[in-house]
Symmetry: C2
Subunit: 501 residues, 2 copies
């Protein structure tokens, strides 16, 4: 991996050490589940670069819009192995995003039940990393219609699946993630935000050709963690090409990002503050970090005092699940011969292992029309193929401002017990936007309980926390997650009294 | 209730409003379960008053040491109604602490199993309030050997009961709390820290006479919340009388207090900071509080800006359980005709109602030798009889310092998801002691997981958090609570590696 003197190099070092700690503690699979999220800070070429926000120009004109007739039918999934009966359709398959290179992205599409599928919007979900799979997390452990049981071969129903609110499209992106691939393997060392946005856009344009009935459907983009970069950059690309073509190629209405990487400096400061205020590390360590570390985009080096303080953090957080600081750990990574009793309301910390087993089964891959090129590597929750990340802007705030100016709905949410991109970080990052309050901070309710807190800003930007949820909000609080997305998609404020939910 | 211009009057007002909110939301029983803890700030006569730490002088010489021969046998509880079989003895009854007034305190004593009861220490547990019952919380919902099922008449075993670590004595204190009473009802309007310490001391001296086999047993005092006042003040009284008598009347070895009221100013500041850092209230509200409110013992008034900021807090926290900010609420306050499936590891938020039903049953009271004078009021988890609290020092730090200087073991713990006396408050209060670190901050482990974090100070004072525990630590984290008390009683450091627990 190319290493150059770059901003954040010391922070990167810190997170490498952390990743090692986590790996040692939880074994290989856990490492994959966690450490790739940490890649959100692995940005050898980061720093403010406004050109990053310039959408790739020649996408729609080039040869990558391909005929899609008849392909939809071939993508129809009769049933996933081990699934319970359901009343909606599923599709899975590949969309070529760059014919010359042979880059194709795998998608899994879950329609809402009939007749709602005709009236509900289209929602894209993206996981982050960079390098993590929307099948692994979004579809199979968060908001998809099924979860995998502990036997790694049977599925159970998620009655809080987001396909009660939308037709949901899960995309493994960029190439090199999950089942998505490039026949030009050198592509794997050339990935970054820009190519991801371009490929995701080409995916959407082609997918719409394959599913023309969704062409004018209100479209929303959702995602978490490093998808805080993917989602706005894709949205920006959509807006750019709509404007350039002077027509609505994709009918984008809004974006929603959760526990999202938004603004590196405040995200990082917020993370250490969260550790201290949640009694994970001593206040004196965070005081030193805040005093001696420079997390600004212009920083090129860190003082020894800063490095010592950062190093003092790791032993304290290396043995908890930083994505849900109160969650139990997974102690039995083997799948079971018989499925354990499972419940949507009690997230199983070993789920990642069940999903890994399930998605590597040949019958599952066949049913999903996945791995058609016989990849030389296993399907992984987070990619081992991608080793570099070439471009990553230090902030996506200008994009959020662009959407607000263009009437695109913007929601930012945060599971409040995530330590990786915690609510403190999101609050600090939003503060940077100097927003004006429209609807002041208040609890929002679901079934008589506080689901979280929310504040709406003039613009319109809605911020909402989800109480007692970790990084992967729908994993830990499926009912609250579904309520949140329903209000987002419906354009309705989160309820400020117990009676109206 | 006498009202005078006193420090904290505005804070008191604030908490009154909060109590009303809580009461409106959760009904009467919930009010009792919560609002009396709030009495920890109901201190009409508070402010620094060093005379509060002067132990009542003439206790042991007066007529309140009464003959106890033969009373122990009468206190033996054959079995509690609805209990499963156990291998230890239980006792319950009254100890007169003031013969002239007719003040008697109810105790419930749970011995460790044979033969451990001979070798394990004696541990007193006190709940706070002021006005809350150690039977209600400590014995029946936290660390006692049984929990009450949802039918309000059967019990199930707590396999993490602290009587695996000690012979445990639960005391309802002062008179007016639970089954404890005074025949001079005017006593109920004269209670405060000082009389509580004196009565608790007289209880202990007489109880030792009744149970002489415990006379030289190593003795420890534990408690939570406002027992942060009771425990040190009782310990101080013990030390005082030992010294005065020049002999060990009570063999005090250590104290341990959890989520404890320690130092009003820092406790209060820490609470608001906790609310903000846990995304319950906006940062701008806490900024105003920290800027415009004066929580020092000398403050006599608060500015309108401060009051407005305090008022902005309540709507945000009135609908969550402030004693465990992530806990579900109790929605069905009725006891069930058949017991629901119950588990020690999943605390039932409606437990307070089951305990209320159980302890008001005539057969239970008879078996426990309780309510022998036929009180004119129900047994309540927190007293409705006590309406004033005459004295409450603004800090107990000098007492902690006294114990450290006298070789008394001092442990301070904190369940880290309590919002009432949160970990932030305890950290701020300990900072006031200007301690020097002996063993630096590190996670402590139980069964491979982080049980919490700990730091030991020269002196010796141990601070420990309990991860994912609310105000009532053994309710929410019974395994971690038991491990903590075992290490405290054993005088062994909390383990800093996974392997040693």
């Amino acid at each position: 991996m190319e290493k150059s003197k770059q901003p954040f190099c010391w922070v990167l070092l810190a997170f490498f050490i952390l990743s090692c700690l986590v790996a040692r503690t939880h074994g290989r699979m856990k490492e994959q589940g966690l450490h790739h999220f940490y890649k959100s800070t692995l940005k050898p070429d980061s720093g403010i670069d406004s050109s990053l926000f310039q959408a790739t120009d020649d996408l729609v004109d080039q040869t990558n819009i391909l005929p899609q007739e008849g392909l939809k039918e071939g993508d129809w999934i009769k049933a996933l192995p081990g699934q319970p009966p359901v009343k909606f359709s599923q599709y899975g398959g590949y969309v070529t995003v760059n014919k010359a290179a042979g880059r194709a992205l795998y998608y899994y599409f879950v329609e809402a039940e009939q007749p709602s599928k005709e009236t509900l919007p289209l929602l894209l979900w993206l996981n982050g990393g960079p390098g993590c799979s929307s099948l692994a997390y979004g579809a199979m452990q968060e908001l998809g219609p099924f979860r995998v049981k502990s036997d790694g071969k049977t599925l159970f129903k998620n009655k809080y699946s987001w396909n009660y609110a939308a037709n949901v499209l899960f995309l493994e992106s960029p190439a090199g993630v999950g089942f998505s691939y490039s026949n030009t393997t050198s592509d794997y060392s050339k990935m970054g935000d820009k190519i991801t946005a371009a490929d995701n856009y080409m995916f959407l344009v082609n997918w719409q050709e394959r599913f023309p009935e969704y062409k004018n459907r209100p479209f929303y983009i959702s995602g978490e963690s490093y998808a805080g970069h993917y989602v706005p950059q894709l949205a920006h690309t959509i807006l750019y090409h709509n404007e350039k073509a002077n027509r609505t190629i994709i009918n984008l209405k809004g974006i929603i990002i959760g526990n999202a990487v938004i603004n590196d400096e405040t995200d990082t400061r917020g993370m250490y503050d969260y550790f201290a205020t949640h009694a994970l590390i001593p206040d004196r360590v965070v005081s030193q970090i805040q005093k001696y570390c420079d997390f600004s985009p212009n920083a090129s080096n860190q003082s020894p005092v800063c490095i010592a303080a950062l190093e003092a953090v790791f032993p304290n957080i290396g043995n908890i699940n930083i994505y849900n600081i109160y969650a139990p750990l997974c102690f039995s990574t083997n799948i079971t011969s018989h499925p354990k009793k499972a419940s949507i309301l009690n997230f199983d910390p070993c789920s990642n292992y069940y999903v890994y087993a399930y998605l590597n089964r040949p019958d599952v891959q066949e049913a999903m029309h996945a791995n058609v090129t016989k990849l030389t590597h296993d399907w992984e929750p987070c990619s081992d193929v991608l080793t570099t990340w070439l471009d990553s802007s230090s902030t996506i705030i200008p994009l959020l401002q662009e959407f607000m100016a263009n009437g695109i709905r913007v929601w930012v949410f945060s599971g409040d017990i995530d330590g990786r991109v915690p609510v403190t970080s999101t609050k600090y990052s939003l503060n940077k936007m100097h927003l004006h309050v429209k609807t002041t901070w208040h609890p929002w309710f679901l079934k008589g309980e506080v689901g979280g807190y929310t504040e709406v800003y003039k613009g319109d930007l809605t911020f909402a926390t989800v109480r007692d949820a970790g990084h992967q909000v729908p994993s830990f609080q499926p009912t609250r997650g579904l309520s949140l997305i329903k209000h987002f998609l419906g354009g309705t404020p989160l309820p400020n009294t117990k009676r109206s939910n």
